[in-house]
Amino acid sequence: MSVQADMPVMRRSSRLSRTMLPYLLSLPALLVCIGILIPFGTAVYYSLQRYRMSQPWNRGMNWGENYLNFFTDPDFWNTLQVSLTYAGLTVVLELLLGLGIALLLQKRSRVNNFVSIMLLMPLMTAPALAALMFKLMTNSNFGILSYFMQLAGFQDFRWASSPDTALLTVILVDVWVYTPFIMILLLAGLRSLPTQPFEAAALDGVPRLEQFWRITLPMLSPYILTAALFRLLDSIQQFDIIYAMTQGGPGDKLMVFQVEAYLNFFQSTNVGRSAALLMILWAITYVLSNIFVKNWLRLRERARGEA
């Protein structure tokens, strides 16, 4: 037997090239992202400027003035309030509905699987298009939802056109699109729960409702928290649905951060204010996403441990 042939040549490789490998692998992705970070820096810079495109002669650094102005700006507080209300309501509604549906579908059966597949479909619909669909459905002339409302006795239900119901209408679209997302997460969580505690509780004769409160809910809580944070982060930045539905109206009823910033930029060409608004939104999401990531990492460890 020839030893030479069997022993591969002991090729040397420099330590440097080995330690560099992970950097080399992630470098292209990083470069692409750094390219995207540059405009972020620009936005910070703009937010510190008095910058209205229609008045170039007035442009200049005004440092924190754009931010300071927010304190006395009722529009800003309205935007903050609308964004938080929208995010809060959608998350709560979607959580409750999503949890309910997940509990309905918990048992693996043919019907349940079919229903969960059906529920994927709203989630796969672009939110902007979903808004358009609901716009058609709530049209006062022929919209089917308007018709149902008439049948139900609300002769003059104006959906997104009325300030009283506009928020409700966009929330309805949000709920339609995103409840399935929460449902899927919670269903995954429910189905991964260990069965022993439930069997033990059943043997002890613990009523099902109590099982739910004392076992299911606590064990599911990390999933619920993750799903809630995830949605909250998206929801507070809502743009597509509201822009496609009412562009922030009627009045200032739906002036959430990104819609306000968009209109500030494109219609008023007030770049400074627009950038400052977005920076505030970014700060909110940054704090939220930090909480989210910490919680999520814990959950991931758990999921991995159980796997």
């Binding site: 591969p8 490998l21 992970p22 692998l25 992630s26 292209p28 992705a29 692409v32 995207i36 405009p39 972020f40 620009t42 936005a43 549906i101 309905l104 048992k107 019907v111 969960s116 597949i117 059906m118 529920l119 994927l120 479909m121 709203p122 989630l123 796969m124 619909t125 672009a126 902007a128 298009l129 358009l132 669909m133 058609l136 459905m137 049209n139 002339n141 022929f142 089917i144 339609w176 399935p180 997460l185 995830f230 930045q237 743009f239 597509d240 496609a244 990104q258 910033a261 968009y262 920076m279 970014w282 999401t285 940054y286 996403s289 989210f292 990531v293 999520w296 991931r300 999921a303 991995r304």
Partner: protein, 285 residues
């Protein structure tokens, strides 16, 4: 759990039926609408009795709309094509960039890797306009305005973090020993990556890719802000359609149906991957 009273059984069935009704009805109704003429749509009260017509679809496919304002041509099929190019291109690029990076993050705990990974994830949560608005001012000088390349690059903002985080989770789930075994057997790192890591993370890559495709397809604000007329995807195109068609409701409905059909079909076809991707994307990473 199996012992359900008949009443509970019925209540559950009713609840389930309501859920399906709520979530499926809009899609069902929009499909019905797309098969009607303005005349039958505008009937009051609404009625299910109508002779279905494919006129609306024909008009959109032909790109010729005879509306009540004027007859005009519309590039909806072009929008559809743009959506395909942008989504496929973005996902392909995100996979090429993201999979190796995900591998690096999963396998090598190098200096700053967690920070970089978090930064990339935080893109997922940053307000898109924060980046997009300044970008409108840059795009021209970069020569990226009015190009697919520019848009595909910006779409990485959605696709890349998604791919990176889901695929990384899958790579981390592969026992390092399996890769060590292959290396020790005499294969180089690239062969190991290609023959072991990639195939084993395959389902994860598929799930992440599908999900990224759908997010890219459904994206609205990027194209709204940055895309020029001939590069606009269906999401923006369909909205613009409302004006352009001078309210031919059936045509709007047909346009919506055509815009959401690809993702819906994809969802039906690959629902297993999608569910996995969605739950892992959020929970597992």
């Amino acid at each position: 759990m199996d012992h359900m009273s008949p009443l509970e059984r019925i209540l559950r069935a009713v609840a389930l039926a309501l859920v399906v009704l709520f979530f499926m009805f809009p899609i069902f109704w929009i499909v019905l609408m797309s098969l009607q003429t303005n005349e039958t749509i505008l009937r009051s009260p609404p009625s299910m009795a109508f002779v279905p017509t494919f006129k609306n679809y024909a008009a959109i496919i032909a790109g010729r709309l005879d509306s009540n304002v004027a007859s005009m041509s519309i590039q909806f099929m072009g929008n559809l094509m743009n959506s395909v190019i942008l989504s496929v291109g973005s996902v392909a690029l995100a996979l090429v960039l993201g999979v190796p990076a995900a591998y690096a993050f999963a396998r090598h705990k190098f200096k700053g890797s967690e920070d970089i990974a978090f930064t990339l994830l935080s893109f997922r949560f940053a307000p898109p306009l924060l980046v997009l608005l300044p970008l409108t001012l840059y795009f021209q000088s970069l020569g990226l305005a009015n190009t697919y390349v520019g848009l595909i690059w910006v779409y990485q903002l959605i696709c890349l973090p998604l791919i990176l985080w889901i695929v990384r989770g899958y790579f981390e789930d592969i026992s390092p020993d399996i890769e060590h075994a292959y290396r020790i057997a005499g294969h180089g790192w690239f062969a190991t990556f290609r023959k072991i890591a990639l195939p084993l993370a395959g389902p994860g890559i598929a799930a992440a890719g599908l999900l990224a495709f759908i997010f890219a397809w459904n994206n609205f604000v990027f194209a709204l802000v940055l895309a020029s007329a001939d590069k606009q995807p269906v999401t923006v195109g369909a909205l613009a359609f409302v004006t352009a068609s001078g309210i031919q409701y059936g045509q709007i409905a047909a346009a919506i149906v055509m815009s959401i059909a690809p993702t819906l079909l994809l969802a039906l076809w690959a629902q297993k991957y999608l569910v996995e991707g969605l739950s892992l994307g959020a929970v597992k990473g």
